[in-house]
Symmetry: C2
Subunit: 273 residues, 2 copies
C-alpha cells in the first residue's frame, strides 16, 4: 500500500466534497503570491488537528475564477485527536470564510487517491442569454452575440467521443497526450441561461473554456458543426477561437463510481444551490 | 418650478433605473470613508459631461449590503454635450465596475423628483430554506431554524395595512412619524427559496429587515400571528426580534404610477435576472 507521507502516523482517510465561489481565489491549488482554496482549508484542518500539518489531495486543479459545486479532496487523519467525520465538517464549516463550504464528508480506504481513482468529472458552463445583470456576472458569461442553444447542441455532438483535443488546449507542449473521452455534452436552457454540461474521463488545462469559445461561435451561427469538426481535427490551438472567461465555469462533480458518472444530471442553475 | 441647483444651466432631466450588488458598497448614499453606489455613478456621469458636476437624486437610501434591481435616480443634464439618453446609458455601462448597471433610462419633466414623486416601492427579501451554499450567500439569508412559508404568509397578513410601525424601526427618535401603509406582502416559494415581497407607500430605516426578523420567528413557529399583532401594537422596537441581515434584501422597484405599483409581481429569484 502506497500512501502519501505525513509528519504523523496516518489513521484514517476522509474524502470531502467542497463547494466554492472561485471569484476571490486563485483556484484550488496552492501557488505563490495568491490565495488558493486548498490553502484556506489546509490551514483550518491543521488548526483543528492541533497543529499537525494536514495535506489535501484534490481530484484536479481548477483555474483562478472557476467555481466548484463538489470538488473532491482527501486527507489522512492523525491518530489523535480522533474526530468523527461529521464533526470535522461542522467544525471547519463554522469557521470557513464566506465562499467556501464542505458539502459532504466520508471515510474512504487509506489507499484511496482523489486524483488517480477518479473515473471522470462533470463541468457545467453557464451562458447568460438575457440582459447583463450585476448579480449573475460572477457566475455566467454574457456573450456579445445572440446565441441559439440548438446550434450549440448540434455543434457539441461533434466534440463528443474519444479525440485528440489539441485544438482546445493551452500550453499543449506541457503535456504528452491530448487524447481524452467526452461521454456526453448536455445543453439545458433554464430561464435566460444556457447551461452546457460536459461529462468526460478527464479534461486538460483550460480545455472546457477553449471548447466553450468554439461552442459560443457555433451558437452565434459563425461556425457550422462541420467547421467545428474541422477545428477539432486540426489539432492546433490557433484553429479555434478565444478561451471563454472562467467565471461561467463550475466543476460539478468528480466521479469515483460508474453509476455516479452515468447518472449525473444537472438539476438547476449551478449558482442557485 | 423648483428644481435643485446645478453649477450649469439645466437642460433636461433623465431618470435611471439602476441594478447593483450591494455586497461591496456602503449603500446608495454618499458617506464619508466608504464607497457608495451614488458616488461611483456621479463620477462617471461627471466625466461623461466633460467635468460638469452631476448630482443624482435617488428615490431613497439603501443600507450597506442591500441590493437593488431597479433603484430610481435622476439628474439634470447640461446643455452641452447634448447626449441622447440611450447613449448615456451605453457609455456609462461600458465603464461601470462589475456589480453596478443602468437598466433603463428615460427623459422626465424637469420638475420631476425621484424621492418626492414616488408612490411607493417594492422590496423582496430572500430566505434560503435549503442547504447553505457559497454561491447564494451574498443574496439570501440562511436562517438556523426550519421555516414554514405558510406560517410566514399567515403572520404577514397581520402587518399589511396602515399602521404605526414603531416596533420595526431602528432610531425611532430620528423620525417624527412611523405610520406607513403596506399594500401587500406576497410570499413566493421558488425552489429552495422563500421570497417575501413587500409593496408599500414607503419604508423606514431598516424597517423591512426588522419585519423580516419577526417573520422569520413566525415562520419557525416561535410566534403566532396573534403574537406578531401584539408586537406591532406595542409600538416598541424592544418587543420585536433582531434585525435580519442586509444581504437577503433587494429593492425591486420604485413606483411613479399607480399601475406600476398595483401590477408589480415578482417574476423569479431576484439574483437570477
Amino acid at each position: 500500500m502506497r500512501i502519501e507521507e505525513t509528519s504523523y502516523e496516518p489513521c484514517k482517510r476522509f474524502l470531502l466534497e467542497i463547494a466554492y465561489d472561485g471569484t476571490d481565489y486563485s483556484g484550488w491549488q496552492i501557488q505563490p503570491h495568491c490565495l488558493a482554496v486548498q490553502e484556506v482549508l489546509q490551514e483550518k484542518l491543521t488548526k483543528l488537528y492541533a497543529g499537525q500539518k494536514i495535506h489535501l489531495i484534490g481530484s484536479s486543479r481548477t483555474d483562478a475564477g472557476v467555481h466548484a459545486q463538489r470538488f473532491a479532496a482527501s486527507f489522512l487523519t492523525p491518530k489523535r485527536p480522533d474526530i468523527p467525520p461529521e464533526k470535522v465538517m461542522r467544525a471547519i464549516n463554522s469557521q470557513m470564510p464566506v465562499g467556501i463550504k464542505i458539502r459532504t464528508i466520508r471515510e474512504v480506504p487509506l489507499e484511496f487517491h482523489a486524483r488517480y481513482d477518479t473515473l471522470g468529472k462533470a463541468y457545467t458552463y453557464v451562458l447568460n442569454l438575457g440582459a447583463y445583470s450585476p448579480f449573475i456576472d460572477r457566475y455566467s458569461w454574457h456573450p456579445i452575440h445572440e446565441i441559439d442553444p440548438e446550434k450549440i447542441r448540434a455543434a457539441a455532438q461533434v466534440l463528443v467521443g474519444t479525440h485528440d483535443y489539441s485544438s482546445f488546449v493551452v500550453e499543449r507542449n506541457m503535456i504528452d497526450d491530448a487524447v481524452r473521452t467526452i461521454y456526453r455534452i448536455d445543453v439545458d436552457v433554464i430561464g435566460q441561461f444556457c447551461c452546457v454540461t460536459f461529462v468526460g474521463n478527464g479534461f486538460l488545462y483550460k480545455m472546457i473554456r477553449c471548447l466553450m469559445g468554439t461552442l459560443e461561435a457555433a451558437g452565434s451561427g459563425k461556425f457550422s458543426p462541420e467547421k467545428v469538426k474541422e477545428i477539432l481535427e486540426a489539432r492546433d490551438r490557433s484553429a479555434a477561437p478565444e478561451t471563454a472567461p472562467p467565471n461561467g465555469l463550475f466543476l460539478m462533480k468528480a466521479f469515483y463510481t460508474p453509476e455516479e458518472r452515468d447518472n449525473f444530471k444537472l438539476d438547476g442553475l449551478p449558482f442557485t444551490f
